[in-house]
């Protein structure tokens, strides 16, 4: 047993951190937040050049073929830097769906384009309110044509292609759902940007009208593929959330050391110290759960569904907890646009919803624990 990343993986983390500190300072995040660009194109290009976009993509499809532990390491740094790029939608969702279910030709085409930074991908799953469930999918696929509306679609306005969940049957069961790949630049697609909690990662509404689509995976297996994609993405997002939690904690700690009130560093007041200690506790629990998730993901262990749900819950809670209390430690300054605290607060709360809400994953975790106990 060894429950830690290897020295090589830690070196990769240092490398990613150094790169992101340089190429993704808060000023770069702000440029996207302020609407100057929909995402940071230079950073995206840089990530491709560093080989980070394809780190878990096999070499034969243009990636570095390193693996998922390496991707986890990079995900943590992406979260730490609050990177304003479509990393999660492209790398965790679209690429993972292709890795799980893509044909050789599909993988060659799209994974290569992802790894090289030429294509942004996303997953078009949600249709308004509600958590992931076959029942919520109304968009239909018939004769290779999609009709319906997806919203919100993460990074939908800048994506080149989407993996779309569609209804192909009417039994009311999981087997009704199939997946498709759609080139979003083709005809029959209408994209509208939506304002959202965290403009550094855009959201869109996509309407498909008699839009040509190519099946991804076997017909009727969409839901089972999606479940796997969401589990993997849950672990990867958890690492981003852990990175964000750590950064928020660090910002709060630094401010507590600098700011003087009543003639003392505010970090010497126990109420402030204890608030920061509690942030450390939740960040640490999330990190440990995420490590377990990383192990399960990288070995494709039978424990993955349960590990992913626990990591997701823990990391969501930790990031929200750290981000909100970081503002509290900063006082009035923390509530200004000028300070960076709100960027993490936005990201924490947006990420809490992106793969299905906390209550959805709580429900999943208990289901999965029961299944394991029954087995």
């Amino acid at each position: 047993m060894n429950f830690d990343f290897s020295d090589d993986q830690k070196q990769l983390r240092d490398q990613a951190r150094k790169f992101l500190t340089e190429k993704c300072p808060p000023k770069a995040v702000r440029a996207v937040l302020d609407g100057k660009a929909p995402y940071d194109k230079d950073l995206w290009k840089g990530l491709a050049e560093m080989g980070f976009l394809g780190v878990a993509i096999p070499e034969e499809f243009g990636g570095a073929g390193a693996g998922h532990l390496e991707l986890c390491v990079i995900a943590e740094e992406m979260g730490r830097a609050n990177a304003p790029v479509p990393f999660s939608s492209t790398v965790y969702l679209a690429a993972e769906a292709l890795l799980i279910a893509g044909s050789d030709a599909q993988k060659k085409k799209w994974l290569l384009a992802i790894a090289s930074g030429e294509a942004i991908g996303t997953l078009a799953l949600f249709e308004g309110k509600g958590n992931p469930s076959p029942k919520t999918i109304k968009l239909t696929a018939a004769n290779g044509m999609l009709n319906g509306v997806k919203k919100p679609v993460a990074d939908g306005a800048i994506a080149d292609f989407a993996v779309v969940a569609a209804r192909t049957g009417s039994s009311g069961r999981d087997g009704d759902i199939s997946l498709f790949i759609v080139d979003l630049r083709a005809g029959g697609v209408e994209v509208k940007s939506l304002t959202n909690l965290d403009p550094t990662r855009g959201q869109a509404e996509i309407t498909f009208r008699d839009c040509k689509a190519e099946p991804l995976g076997a017909a009727g297996e969409g839901w089972s593929i999606l479940t796997q994609v969401l589990d993997r993405a849950a672990v990867l997002c958890a690492f981003e959330q852990v990175g964000g939690s750590d950064r928020a904690l660090e910002m709060g700690r630094d401010y507590a050391l600098d700011r003087i009130a009543f003639g003392r560093q505010i970090g010497s007041f126990q109420a402030v110290k204890h608030m920061l200690a509690d942030m450390y506790v939740s960040a640490t629990l999330a990190r440990s759960n995420s490590y377990y998730g990383a192990w399960a993901l990288s070995t494709n262990a039978a424990e993955l569904p349960e590990a992913a749900a626990a990591a997701r819950i823990s990391a969501t809670q930790a990031f929200q907890h750290c981000a909100k209390n970081n503002i509290q430690v900063h006082g009035g300054m923390g509530f200004t646009w000028e300070f960076d605290c709100h960027m993490y607060y936005r990201r924490a709360n947006a990420m809490a919803l992106g793969l299905g809400s906390l209550s959805y994953w709580e429900d999943q975790l208990i289901d999965r624990m029961r299944k394991k106990n029954a087995a």
């Binding site: 047993m1 290897s6 532990l69 110290k273 204890h274 200690a277 506790v281 629990l285 759960n289 624990m369």
Partner: protein, 415 residues
């Protein structure tokens, strides 16, 4: 990152499993499995005797205090082998809780500070459970503020003469030895005038008076010292250096307690899986599931946090202040879990008798024991201070008694 046993680990596991299967006191297995915090008695046997017998059997076969060196009664095992052993020992491991203070705190302190001949004489019978040890730190005037203690030790020839009182000493009523923190110089600031010893609890002048706890049990005691003589060679560390010695104990305490502390979650999950509410099984109720899931994630977070600590240990790193997290999280969690389990029972949750109540009073016992968990071995507040100061690097609390000689500091808040 790897969770699977190496070849060597698998072999170790198989040997341990076979030995346990052949030797464990199986007649108590079910009772031990169903025991939980606050309820570790055996119905028809004295648990201390059962624990001692099991410990002795383990020691004779080389399975006691696995990570201790062989010459001191251990096995010289790696931290990971220790975890494997705990996994395999399962419910029988509950029995070693009786020795947690001796094995987790006194032993390591002796190993770090006692003379070689004392280590060889005292540690093996501690490892084998033949001799039980206690930790005599806290006093009425010094719990969180350990360094505020008043028990005096005065040099008299080759001996030290001890006078004073300790309190909340767990297991003192059945202990053979204890480690004792005393004040040897009241004229210097409090941290500088302390000295540590170990002593025979049967020494003349030692009087142990059990205290009835809030839970109704009597696991801890007051201990009075009247002209108790301790030979100088039983001193641990230098005269005046007791604070540093005690830090070694406390650091080990946090990892020993932190790793062993229970969260109540497995018990609650099991309960909710079988409990029927008005409109169906509890585990299918949305509100119940949300609570369970949050606690499940906390419990697994703790589990993997200690795995990470063990991985660090096996690479030769020392247990650090981050180990304070275990008790801090588990302590309030078990309290909340017990409260919730009773809430689910409605009015009947109040009934705690083993015969009348659902689950034989398990959660009621847990609830009544839980406040102690949040206090023993450092309160929640002290744990948060440790994390804030020693892990995050925040300023220490302002100390008004800092450079003041001990005999001139305030002793009472009002009047």
């Amino acid at each position: 990152m790897n969770f699977d046993d190496t070849l060597q680990e698998a072999e170790f596991r198989a040997t341990a499993r076979a030995w346990i299967a052949a030797n464990a006191p199986k007649q108590y297995e079910e009772e031990l499995r169903k025991s939980s915090l606050g309820r570790t008695q055996l119905k028809n046997a004295n648990i201390l005797e059962v624990a001692k017998a099991w410990q002795k059997k383990k020691a004779d076969a080389g399975w006691a205090c696995l990570h201790w060196p062989k010459e001191y009664g251990g096995r010289g095992s790696s931290p990971i082998e220790r975890v494997i052993w705990q996994q395999e020992e399962g419910p029988f491991g509950q029995l070693s809780r009786m020795f947690i203070i001796g094995h987790g705190m006194c032993g390591p302190t002796m190993m770090a500070f006692a003379r070689e001949e004392h280590k060889r004489a005292y540690l093996p019978p501690l490892a084998s459970g033949e001799k039980v040890w206690c930790q005599l730190f806290s006093e009425p005037a010094g719990g969180s503020d350990v360094a505020g203690l008043r028990t005096r030790a005065e040099k008299d020839g080759d001996d030290w003469v001890i006078n004073g009182q300790k309190i909340w000493t767990s297991g003192a009523h059945y202990s053979d030895y204890g480690i004792l923190l005393t004040r040897t110089d009241p004229t210097v600031p409090k941290h500088k005038g302390l000295t540590m010893f170990f002593l025979d609890m049967k020494s003349p002048g030692v009087e142990v008076r059990p205290i009835k706890q809030a839970s109704g049990a009597s696991d801890f005691n007051e201990v009075y010292f009247t002209n108790v003589r301790i030979p100088d060679h039983q001193r641990l560390g230098e005269v005046g250096d007791g604070w540093n010695v005690s830090l070694t104990t406390l650091m080990n305490e946090r990892s020993a307690i932190g790793a062993a502390v229970s969260t109540g979650f497995p018990e609650l999950f099991e309960y909710c899986s079988s409990l029927m509410l008005d409109d169906g099984p509890a585990i299918e109720d949305r509100a119940v599931r949300a609570k369970l899931a949050s606690w499940a994630a906390k419990a697994s977070g703790l589990k993997y946090t200690s795995m990470r600590a063990i991985s660090a240990l096996s690479k030769g790193e020392r247990p650090g202040p981050e180990n304070s997290i275990g008790k801090l999280v588990a302590g309030s969690m078990i309290q909340d879990v017990a409260t919730y389990a009773l809430d689910l029972q409605g009015a009947a949750g109040v009934i705690s008798g083993a015969e009348d109540s659902e689950l034989a009073g398990r959660f009621q016992a847990m609830l009544l024991r839980a406040p102690g968990t949040r206090v023993e071995g450092g309160t929640d507040e002290i744990m948060r201070n440790i994390i804030a100061e020693r892990v995050l690097g925040l300023p220490g609390d302002i100390r008004v008694d800092k450079d003041v000689p001990f005999n001139r500091i305030l002793t009472k808040g009002r009047g």
